[in-house]
Assembly symmetry: C2
Homo-oligomer: 410 residues x 2
């Protein structure tokens, strides 16, 4: 038995593989409207200023601010109405001393005017006369040209993963096409003599493939184009041949959901070493669940051996594979965001190991608390019933009820 | 001017429209592998137990626990090796008194045995002899049949939105097809004489359509099938005709990104009242940004008038439309999850109004803090540069630097 692990911390494990992973560098142009979740391949700078014209932020009257100075309920200013600026056009007239014009929210502020008085602070007192009961300062209720973004200003940097509002920002300045990183091609294999496809009936001793599906879904969420390579037997030659075929077919990353027994893990490690230099980088991580995770790189292609256990595979995918898929796209690896909530019960742990405990988030006395789901052995339904993962830090010997803890919400 | 709003709180506004929205009730069967993000139309119960056989959680030897009692480094138990259980099969033999057999992680525990001793606690001392140096209790390192899930047990309830791990759980018990709610058909229109499509060049006074795209993306994220209906002029008859056409074409929900001026808002409200009973339910919400939001229902179809301002439209979509789209699918409306972090600077506010301030999350002294982006008038690029929305509660008159605050992370 070569169970001779050097267990390293999750942070160190991730850093070790990321040190060998380079962005693919392949770029494709896609319509902005289809670019959500894609990673920008280059800085996007604004081709124009925004807004392009002086806009009112309120419904009201464009004025010269000086004409309203001192105006009050008891001593209003009376100004002459000289027109209205229709939406979608700019004013065809100028505001002179003692004059004002109707403007709508978002509409153009005509030349000569330097502020907008809100409709609520006025009264129409005649055909072409308006009473102003409140002074405005110069620039009040006006957005200046370029105030939202300047021409040539950086809108979004290379490496940014596009969100809904980013699409809007790009559309606002007419960027209807963007250059993004090609989706990394991730091949996912399940291995194990006991594993059968989900649509088949189990014979005694067999279990259905879970990990091909959860892993594929998580990889797609991270931006990958996934090929499910099916279920491979626990046979060195077969696994080596099929992973080599995947690489020849253009795989950018290989994920094996391997069995959890030591012999199978050793086989996975040996396959990785055959797939190119440097081969295996991490053989075992000081974490639970997920200790038997194997990380490697072969000729620049990340090689991941996830434990067969579905909870371990799920947790380690989030901790290691998601950052790797981001890196392949040239994306900044986003920090893991936790919610901080009180813990409902004591949670035991072992110092020197980072634990992730599937956890419900439940209301108790009007407050959200973390209620861990205790489990014997990482059953898939602990994850199904969980709202997130409770993190027990590397050096904690346990967490106490009532303590504030960190939960990574699904 | 009929600027005669009755402003109600965001919670009350949401409750008022949700009270009129019923789940569509249409069901479709989809392959489980394509069902991520879909909402279950019926309870799913397990057709079988899981696991289906006694499984070992470790690499080691299946034993009768009683045979290991008292075993220690100085006084090991010596047991007779009678076989190995191959993965994917069940044992063809039984473990008798004084006997043991090799089992792998996840493999079947043979009849007669009632525990598994870990390989690390043993030595192979002969062809068919193993030294056991540590006792195991009955049931130790064994998962019992049905321990993960029982036959007939509820796996996931109707109304649950499927996540990656749920797909795995369904696959584990052979559920390769699920019944889900039909995607709600959401029609999104931009309105405004000043609005042009993003690919066109602006003339003075014109702005490009942003909201059709951010709103469509957010609606799709919530599970909707979206039709972008294009840009409509500020013309009552046109807007009424086009929304009626959408309803005749099968719309389950209408979203107008309307202008922000009072006259346009009044026009939107009048259109909603023409589209059926009860018409407008909410005309203005005590929130910033998003005060001019209009909510209505016409013959059971939710009608949403978002402010034209892109930040307002984005925030109010999250606050109101996402819950409505969930409800149309029969889904439990998920609680909004906030991260709690310290605030970097003072934030002024007005009591009686719930504010959402676009905010960066930045590291300061090794801690994540909320650094609000102050803005004059909800410019789209404040959202592009933000990591989330800082919530200023309804009754706060402001928040102080250093205070713990809630941020809804994008």
């Amino acid at each position: 038995m070569s169970e001779f692990f050097t267990l390293i911390s999750p942070d160190e494990a991730r850093a070790r593989i990321l040190a060998h992973v380079k962005p693919l560098g392949d770029v494709e142009a896609v319509p902005t409207v289809e670019a959500i979740g894609r990673v920008l391949a280059e800085d996007v700078r604004s081709p124009q200023i925004l807004p392009e014209f002086r806009r009112s932020t309120v419904d009201g009257y464009a004025v010269r601010a000086a004409d309203t100075h001192g105006a009050s309920d008891t001593l209003p200013a009376y100004l002459k109405l000289v027109g209205e600026v229709p939406m979608g056009q700019v004013a065809s007239f100028e505001i002179g001393v003692g004059e004002l014009a109707v403007v709508h929210t978002g509409g153009n502020v005509p030349p000569g005017a330097d502020a907008v008085v809100m409709i609520e602070d006025t009264n129409r007192t005649g055909e072409d006369e308006v009473e102003v009961r409140k002074p405005v300062a110069e620039g009040e209720n006006v957005i200046q040209p370029g105030e939202d973004i300047d021409e040539g200003e950086l809108i979004l940097p290379a490496g940014h993963r596009l969100r809904e509002q980013d699409i809007g920002g790009l559309m606002a300045v007419g960027c209807t096409e963007v250059k993004v990183a090609r989706r990394p091609r991730v091949y996912v294999f399940a291995t194990g003599d006991e594993v059968i496809p989900p649509h088949e009936a189990t014979k005694p001793g067999q279990v259905r493939d879970i990990n091909s599906y959860t892993v594929a879904a998580l990889a797609e969420q991270a931006g990958a184009a996934v090929t499910r390579g099916g279920i491979l037997p626990d046979d060195f030659d077969t696994i080596l041949a099929r992973t080599r075929e995947a690489i020849e077919a253009g795989a950018d990353m290989i994920v094996l959901s391997a069995g959890s027994s030591v012999s199978v893990r050793d086989m996975t490690a040996e396959v990785f070493n055959q797939l190119g230099e440097p081969g295996v980088l991490v053989h075992g991580i000081a974490t639970k669940p997920g200790k038997p995770t194997i990380l490697g790189v072969g000729n620049g292609i990340p090689l991941i051996g996830l434990p067969g256990n579905p909870v371990s595979a799920f947790v380690q995918f989030l901790m290691v594979c998601t950052p790797v898929i981001y890196r392949l796209q040239g994306a900044e690896v986003p920090p893991t965001r936790f919610v901080r909530v009180p813990l409902a019960v004591n949670v035991p742990s072992t110092a020197g190991r980072e634990d992730y405990v599937p956890t419900r988030l439940v209301e108790r006395d009007g407050q959200l608390v973390a209620d861990p789901i205790f489990f014997k052995s990482n059953l898939i339904f602990t994850l199904v019933h969980a709202d997130g993962l409770l993190r027990v830090p590397l050096n904690a010997t346990g967490l106490e009820a009532g303590e504030m803890v960190e939960v990574r919400v699904f």
